[in-house]
């Protein structure tokens, strides 16, 4: 990757954007999955046969990290870093790309944490009655909406910023 030589700040800013998206999304999901996992471990100790359902519910707050990763991946792809032939990006373009990553990063950070809380509460539902699984998943997915919207806006911005 020694070919990555750029004249201005542009590429650096764009990469900082990728960092924001992947980093914040990852934090949100780690906390969220962590919260859900703690509650889930309790359920799985008492009722190991529900492990499959516990695992699915725990995985739900994990999507925020994926959304963040995707935006980061798009930046790496479009700036040419991934292919080893980075494009010459002006400082203005770099700033645009960086801010394009912000909606996804922030939305995923908070939505990941809170979806984790709802998932953890849902563990209580399936501990009592695992036919309530669908409801627990839908409740949890309500929180994800805002991460999806953040991801959508960031993706559209990254697509449409002219390089």
């Amino acid at each position: 990757m020694e070919e990555i030589v750029s004249t201005g700040w542009g590429l650096g800013l764009a990469l900082a954007g990728a960092g924001i998206a992947v980093g914040l999304g990852g934090i949100g999901s780690s906390i969220g999955v962590g919260l859900a996992g703690q509650a889930g471990a309790g359920v799985a100790t008492e009722q190991p046969e529900k492990f499959g359902k516990v695992l699915i519910l725990e995985a739900l707050p994990g999507t925020q990290g994926i959304y963040g990763f995707l935006i980061g991946f798009l930046i790496l792809l479009f700036t040419g870093v991934l292919t080893g032939e980075p494009k010459d990006i002006s400082t203005a373009q770099g700033l645009q790309l960086m801010f394009a990553c912000v909606p996804c990063g922030i939305a995923c950070l908070f939505s990941g944490i809170h979806q984790g809380k709802v998932s953890a509460a849902g563990m209580g539902m399936i501990a009592k009655d695992d036919s309530q699984m669908g409801k627990a998943m839908v409740l949890s997915a309500m929180v994800e909406t805002y991460a999806v919207l953040g991801f959508l806006v960031s993706a559209l911005l990254v697509f449409f910023i002219k390089l």
Partner: protein, 659 residues
């Protein structure tokens, strides 16, 4: 295509046929038996069946215990083994032939031995841990005791404090003997013998040094012998453990039979429990319950084969009692009931949303996944599962649903050019073509979501608009038919006019050939707005109140707009699948450059990555297209909260009953 019509019936029959009638009811499985209300004229049967019920419950619990105990020792069920199969007759005969009681007895005995052996192992192992350090103590344990003048103290102290302890004690008097027995990483074990006169002073020093006194077991012999005996006992208990485990493995061979008998007792239990909710007089008894109207003749016919001494009459539901809900759909639609049931059942007087959500659900699912390759994989796996396994009803419906979803995803994926996240440049030219705008596309591909996401966004919102409008129209039709007609039109009809007007206006403004109709749309919306202001506040008492709530009702538009915008997730989730696929392929190509084993790692990354993508995104697709039904669609026309129909029937846990 709706909810089945339910009737509450009362079955009156002669007591001597009670058992047979119960059997017929349970075999038919068409009636949801309700408890007879104490206040109604027929009194609930006295509890004379109680002992029989208790006995059955005990056997049932014992069977469950035995099955659980044996479950770890039997041969593991392979992935391709279905459930146990048996006919009704075989199950009943099995209960008579198979000596389950002796197996239960043996299981209870073995379980006792198991617990005992396990407890022994822990006790003796703990002893060994506790006294291991004293192994070198070369005295008979019985001998260690105080004499008339001397006191013996054994115990341990932190190794760092050992020297100071010895020094201080020896300073007091010469009449002290101390012997260091053993020293490990932290503790030093010692034995102290001193004159009884010094006891007070010495114990003070000992407590200063946090000396912990040891309590020796009562044993006639040396410590090493004691330890040897303990490990012998552990060995013995372990031997017993393996022996009992062998016995369990032997017993586990009959666990299939136990399971069949278990299900038999489950029926008996339910039968006896149901029997208690009957009313009874000296010669007759009465059962009340809900049954689908269409099933009444069937039940009558079956009962007539047994006896003519019965009567079925339709009765009124008690106050506050709601009929249970059964969804009744065509065979093709049944799988979609699984989606409805995730939300819960509609109320008895509401519409069954299943046939209306089906097409939307499956299109949304496909839009979220949009990969033809994944679609094929999903279809093949689900079709195989359906063919190979004998799945229980609920799971079967889910599998069928996913199979349909696989097909639609395939077509949707082909339309959007999703083939395992590959780009047209990466595949042979034979399966690509060049579009009018010079873009290289897959064959069959019409839309490129990555270069033209706006089109997909509009498509998503349009689908959302259609579904939300359909929801409101359904409420209008349902209210018009079942409630006050005027209210339905004023309350909901105005909103239908408003929403369709907005849709028409946007369509006319956006499509160039329809531009001339835009003014019509504008007037349409304006009239609808006026009607909304006039009608929505009509229930307020004062004129000002009417006007205010009329105007405020326009705020409802924000709600509809929010609902429709929520459908933009279809684009986002579709993009997510495509981009994860792209990421997997890019990483696979990168590791493919590693010399010699690159192709192998590439294959692992490619296959593993796509399996991950398929799993995570089909889960996401299912939840999110489900959510669009529950939150955006259902709320327009139904409340939900219907009570499920729970027929008195022969339910099984382990056995698949062959017809």
């Amino acid at each position: 295509m709706a909810l089945a019509e339910m009737k509450k019936i009362q079955l009156l029959a002669v007591t001597q046929h009670k058992d047979k009638i119960l059997d017929i009811l349970q075999n038919t499985g068409a009636m949801d038996v309700t408890e007879i209300n104490e206040e109604s004229e027929v009194k609930p049967e006295s509890y004379k069946n109680l002992t029989k019920l208790q006995k059955t419950e005990l056997t049932y619990a014992n069977l469950e215990f035995a099955i659980n105990l044996l479950s770890d020792y039997g041969k593991k069920k392979g992935l391709f083994d279905g459930p146990i199969e048996a006919t009704l007759k075989e199950v009943i005969e099995k209960e008579k032939e198979f000596d389950y009681e002796s197996i239960i007895k043996e299981c209870t005995k073995i379980e006792e031995n198991l617990t005992k052996a396990k407890n022994n192992i822990t006790t003796h192992e703990n002893n060994i841990l506790l006294y291991e350090a004293w192994k070198k103590l070369d005295i008979d344990l019985q001998v260690i005791s105080d004499t008339d003048h001397a006191k013996v103290v054994i115990g341990s102290v932190k190794s760092t404090l050992f020297n100071s302890l010895i020094e201080k004690t020896h300073k007091i008097s010469d009449l002290i003997s101390s012997d260091k027995i053993h020293e490990d990483a932290t503790e030093t074990y010692l034995i102290l013998i001193f004159s009884k006169e010094l006891e007070e002073e010495i114990s003070k020093i000992l407590s200063e040094h946090k000396f912990s006194e040891a309590d020796f077991p009562k044993y006639n012999g040396k410590m090493s012998a004691y330890l040897a005996e303990q490990s012998e006992k552990v060995k013995d208990s372990k031997h017993i453990l393996t022996e009992t485990e062998k016995e369990l493995t032997k017993l586990a061979k009959s666990s299939d039979d136990l399971k069949i008998v278990h299900d038999y007792f489950q029926w008996q239990k339910e039968k006896l429990e149901t029997g208690r909710s009957f009313g009874e007089t000296d010669h007759t008894f009465v059962i009340q319950g809900w049954i689908a109207d269409a099933n009444i003749p069937l039940l009558e016919e079956r009962l007539e084969k047994e006896t003519k001494e019965f009567e079925i009459s339709k009765i009124k539901a008690e106050e506050g009692e709601h009929p249970p809900v059964v969804l009744k759909n065509s065979n093709f639609m049944t799988p979609f009931e699984a989606v409805t049931k995730v939300y819960g059942l509609p109320k008895y007087n509401e519409l069954d949303p299943t046939p209306f959500l089906a097409i939307f659900f499956i299109i949304y699912f496909a839009l979220c996944l949009t990969d033809a390759g994944y679609g094929i994989i999903m279809f093949v796996i689900m079709a195989l599962a359906l063919k190979k396994f004998k799945l229980p009803e609920g799971i079967r419906n889910m599998v069928r649903l996913l199979m349909y979803a696989g097909i639609v995803t395939f077509f949707m994926g082909a339309l959007f050019g999703g083939w395992f996240g590959l780009t047209p440049d990466q595949v042979p030219d034979a399966i690509t073509y060049t579009a009018d705008n010079g873009e290289k596309l897959f064959i069959f591909q019409k839309i490129n979501a990555i270069t033209n996401p706006i089109f997909v966004l509009i498509l998503s919102l349009a689908l959302g608009f259609i579904q939300v409008l359909l929801g409101v129209v359904m409420k209008l039709i349902h209210d018009f038919r079942h409630n006050d007609k005027k209210d339905a039109i004023l309350e909901t009809g105005t909103w239908v006019l408003m929403l369709s007007g907005i849709g028409f206006f946007i369509l006319a403004s956006a499509v160039p050939s329809l531009n001339s109709l835009a003014p019509v749309g504008k007037w349409w919306v304006l009239i609808a707005t006026g009607l909304l202001i006039l009608t929505q506040g009509r229930k307020s008492p004062s004129i000002i109140g009417k006007a205010a709530s009329g105007i405020l009702s326009l705020y409802g538009l924000v709600g509809y707009m929010g609902d429709i915008l929520s459908y933009s997730r279809l684009l986002a989730l579709g993009l997510a699948t495509a981009i994860i696929g792209l990421a997997v392929n890019t990483v696979a190509a990168l590791v493919g450059g590693i010399p010699y084993i690159g192709w192998l790692i590439m294959a692992v990354v490619f296959i593993g990555g796509h399996i991950f993508n398929l799993l995570i995104n089909s889960l996401g697709s299912f939840i999110h297209s489900g959510r669009l039904q529950f939150v955006e669609f259902f709320t327009k026309f139904m409340e939900g909260g219907g009570q499920a129909f729970k027929p008195f029937s022969k339910k099984t846990k382990y056995v698949y009953i062959k017809k």
